[in-house]
């Protein structure tokens, strides 16, 4: 099997023997949307749930514990750059960022 992998600054082509596990990224392409007929047919298909026991897997010991889930406090005080014209706002923004030593 030959795959193309996304790198930070480009792509690489990788060959691997099968079977292989491949993870994909959003550059992969268009999803295959079902047609109406296929959606109708899907409704009739049997869905058979399996338990782990039925496929011969015992529940693995939990190795990772979620201790806390929270929304971090991020308070941003927004300054609205005012001006009579868009040009004036653009110029004022530059002055403000200069004062903040960011440019």
């Amino acid at each position: 099997m030959t795959v193309e992998r996304v790198l930070l600054d480009g792509f690489e082509t990788v060959e691997a023997p099968t079977p292989a596990v491949v993870t994909v990224s959003n550059e992969l392409g268009e999803p295959r949307y079902p047609q109406l007929r296929q959606i109708m047919m899907a409704a009739k298909k049997e869905v058979k749930p399996w338990t782990l026991g039925e496929i011969g897997i015992s529940v693995p010991e939990k190795r990772i514990t979620l201790e806390a889930l929270f929304v971090p406090e991020t308070k941003v005080e927004t300054e609205i750059i005012e001006g009579d014209t868009p040009r004036e706002k653009g110029e004022k923004l530059a002055v403000r960022l200069r004062e903040a030593k960011l440019i």
């Binding site: 030959t2 790198l7 930070l8 600054d9 480009g10 792509f11 690489e12 082509t13 990788v14 060959e15 691997a16 023997p17 990224s25 959003n26 550059e27 010991e61 939990k62 190795r63 990772i64 514990t65 979620l66 201790e67 806390a68 889930l69 929270f70 929304v71 971090p72 991020t74 941003v76 005080e77 927004t78 300054e79 609205i80 750059i81 014209t85 868009p86 040009r87 004036e88 706002k89 653009g90 110029e91 923004l93 530059a94 002055v95 403000r96 960022l97 200069r98 903040a100 960011l102 440019i103």
Partner: protein
């Protein structure tokens, strides 16, 4: 008993110590105990001294041509061998191409678990508490790992790097790779670089990003000019990458890149949570949007309401002027 931290270090493509390594050493030092750094690669031996300067007590170097590129089949067994020998309480590595691939595989081999893409750490007794962003950066989760060693990958620039002190010494041990061509099942056939001009998005101190509000691919020209004046890089929202207005490599966000500049300028970007996930640790966000209710303003330090087409050129011109006046 397992103790201390093992840092899986790495080099950049041009053979320098990856900047995440001093950050990892910093984490190890703060957690307490010995910090051992494993350096795997080709031509990495010279970096051992640097790792020592950042505070490693011991550096294990595996320098072999077979390790020129990261391949799971060659790197993972070596990391496993070193982990078993060092017997650390904690293993950390960067949330890099290498770390993402290696960490889960290593955890599986060592019969333990991994917390990925963490930004904060704390020891509670002998338990590592690792914190990571979740739900597209809008929440944080804290995990503990019930196994030894406790493994985590770390987001770049989330933690303070260790101080460099070139007078520090460390024990440096060289080890053979112990893997051969026959062990590596994947083969890299070709590598293509996207011609990245100027500053890399991940390293940029200033990022100027454009969204659908630009109205078309030509809208990026003035942004490139602005980025150029500021010595920064250009980013994009997913909407414009999907439309083909700008390369996907420049996408910022949940499914794009996480950037950490000192200044982020969002032009014609609405501020969807998936976009914000890419800039969640940026303190200075400027946004230019014609919609006064755009959600990006809530996270912005400076907000400019109006049409970018008039604001950006005036802004660029003024920046140029201010820079020229010193």
């Amino acid at each position: 008993m397992a103790s201390g931290t093992l840092v899986i270090g790495e080099a950049t493509e041009d053979g320098k110590l990856n900047p995440v390594v001093p950050e990892l050493i910093g984490i190890g030092s703060r957690l307490g105990g010995r910090v051992t750094v494993a350096l795997l690669g080709s031509g990495v031996e010279g970096l051992a001294r640097e790792a020592a300067a950042f505070g490693a007590s011991k550096v294990i170097v595996v320098d072999d041509a077979i390790l020129k590129e990261y391949q799971g089949d060659s790197y993972v067994p070596i990391a496993e061998r070193i982990a078993k020998e060092v017997d650390p309480a904690v293993i950390v590595m960067g949330q890099t191409m290498m770390g993402r691939d290696m960490a889960p595989r290593l955890a599986q081999r060592l019969g333990t678990a991994v917390a990925m893409d963490c930004v904060n750490f704390e020891m509670q007794g002998d338990k590592l508490v690792a914190e990571r962003p979740c739900y597209g950066g809008s929440a944080r989760a804290r995990y503990t790992i019930n196994g030894t060693p406790q493994i985590a990958t770390v987001r770049a620039k989330a933690q303070e790097p260790a101080e460099r002190d070139d007078s520090r010494q460390a024990e440096v041990v060289k080890q053979p790779a112990g893997v051969g061509e026959g062990d590596v099942r994947t083969r890299i056939v070709e590598r293509r670089k996207e011609k990245a001009e100027g500053v890399r998005l991940e390293d940029a101190k200033v990022v100027v990003s454009g969204g659908r509000g630009l109205g078309g691919p030509e809208g990026f020209k003035p942004l490139e000019e602005l980025a150029d004046v500021l010595g920064g890089a250009v980013g994009a929202s997913r909407a414009v990458c999907d439309l083909g207005w700008y390369p996907v490599a420049n996408q910022v966000g949940l499914t794009g890149k996480v950037v950490t500049p000192d200044l982020y300028i969002a032009v014609g970007i609405s501020g969807a949570s998936q976009h914000m996930a890419g800039i969640s640790s940026v303190k200075n966000i400027v946004s230019i949007n014609k919609d006064a209710d755009a959600s990006i303003f809530k996270s912005s330090r400076w907000a400019v309401v109006g049409d970018w087409k008039e604001i950006v050129p005036a802004f660029t011109e003024k920046v140029r002027q201010l820079k020229a006046s010193g």
